[in-house]
Symmetry: C2
Subunit: 222 residues, 2 copies
Amino acid sequence: MVTLESRPLPEPTLRRLPRYLQLARSLTPARPVVSSAYIGERLGLDAVQVRKDLQCAGLVGRPKIGFEVPKMVGTLESLLGWNNVRQAFLVGAGSLGSALLGHGRFKEAGFEIVAAFDTDPKKVGTELHGKPVLPVEKLSSLIRRMHILVGVVAVPAPAAQHVADLMCAAGIRALWNFAPVRLAVPEDVIVQDEDLLAGLATLTQKLAARLHEGTARLQKGK
Amino acid sequence: MVTLESRPLPEPTLRRLPRYLQLARSLTPARPVVSSAYIGERLGLDAVQVRKDLQCAGLVGRPKIGFEVPKMVGTLESLLGWNNVRQAFLVGAGSLGSALLGHGRFKEAGFEIVAAFDTDPKKVGTELHGKPVLPVEKLSSLIRRMHILVGVVAVPAPAAQHVADLMCAAGIRALWNFAPVRLAVPEDVIVQDEDLLAGLATLTQKLAARLHEGTARLQKGK
C-alpha cells in the first residue's frame, strides 16, 4: 500500500524504502547525518545501491557527509504514505458505521474510510457503500501493513475501550470516537469525541427556554 | 396523542381542552383574565361546563374575575403535551436516519424520535428500529395533529431546505440539522447544525500538526 502515482520507482527500491525509513527513525538525534556506507552496513546492502535507492526517493546526500536524517524521515514518510491522515479504518459496521461510510462529504474533504471491521459473521465479507467489511481479527495486522493512522470507533459503548486498545497497540495515532465513553489511550494518541447527545441537549434546552420565555411574556402581559 | 398518564380526565373534557388552549392563546395580552362565561360564549359551551372542564385540568378561576390567561396557556400546554420537547419526527430514513433512530442513548436521555418520513416507496411502510417509516406527504398533518415541536433533518443537502420549510410551516419549533447546508427558517425556529466534517477536520488537523511536530523535533535534533 504505497501511494506513488507520479513517481515511477523501481519495485525493488520501493520494497527497500520502509527499511531505510525504519533505520532513519531508529537513529538517535545525536546522529543527524548518516552515510550511505553506514546505512548499507546496517541493512546488509551495498552503499552504491543505498545511494541509488535514496536518489530515486529524491534524497541526495552531501559528499563525505551523508544524508540528513530528519529530511530522510520526512521524505520517506510522505513517499510511503506513512504520514497519511486522510485514510481511516472504521470499527463497528452498524447503522452509525454505515452512515459514516456513506457520508458523501468526507470524500469531498479528501478523507476516506477505506475499510470497516466487525465481529458479526453476517456482516463480515459484505460491502457497505462499496467498502469491505472485514473481521476484527484482521484489524491490527492491516493497520500495521497499511500504516493507517486514523481509527473511527463506531461500536457500542461496552466494546469501545477494547477496540481503542487494539487500534492504539497497532499504531493508530488518532481516534474519532462515536461511542459514549471516555477512552483511555496512550499519551501520543489524539481522541476526538463525537457526542450527538450534546447537540441534542443543546437544542432541547434552547427550545424549552424559548417556550418558557413565550409563557413568561404572556404572564407579563407583554 | 395526549400525554396524560396520571390524571384520569373524562374523554369529552380531553377533547375540548385543545379548544380552550387555542382560545387562550388567541387572547390579546390586554386581556390577562377571562371568565368562564366569555369562554363559553366564544366556544358555544355552557359556562358551567367550561368551569368543570378547566377544573379537571387543574385550573380554578377566581370568583367574579375569572381565569388567568397565561396560567391557562401554560397548564393546558403541559397537560396536552404541547410543550413537548422530548419527541421528534425525523425526515430521511437513510443510513444516517437509521443510525439516529437506533441511537440507544437518546432514549436514556428521555428523547424519542417517534417516526421517520421518507419519499422512497421501498422504505415507506417499513419499520426502522421499531419506528414506522411514513410517507413524507403525511409529515405536515402529523406534526400538527401530534403537536411535534422538534424535527430532525437527515436528508441529502439538496432536499434539506424543502423539508425544513414543510416542517416549519406545520409548527416545528426546533430543527436538528444533519444536512450540510445552512437552513433558512423563520425567526422563532431554533436550528442546531450537526456537522460531522467539523469534528473530522479538527481531528486530522491535530494529527497532522502532531506528525509535523515529531518531524520538527527530529530536525532540531532534540
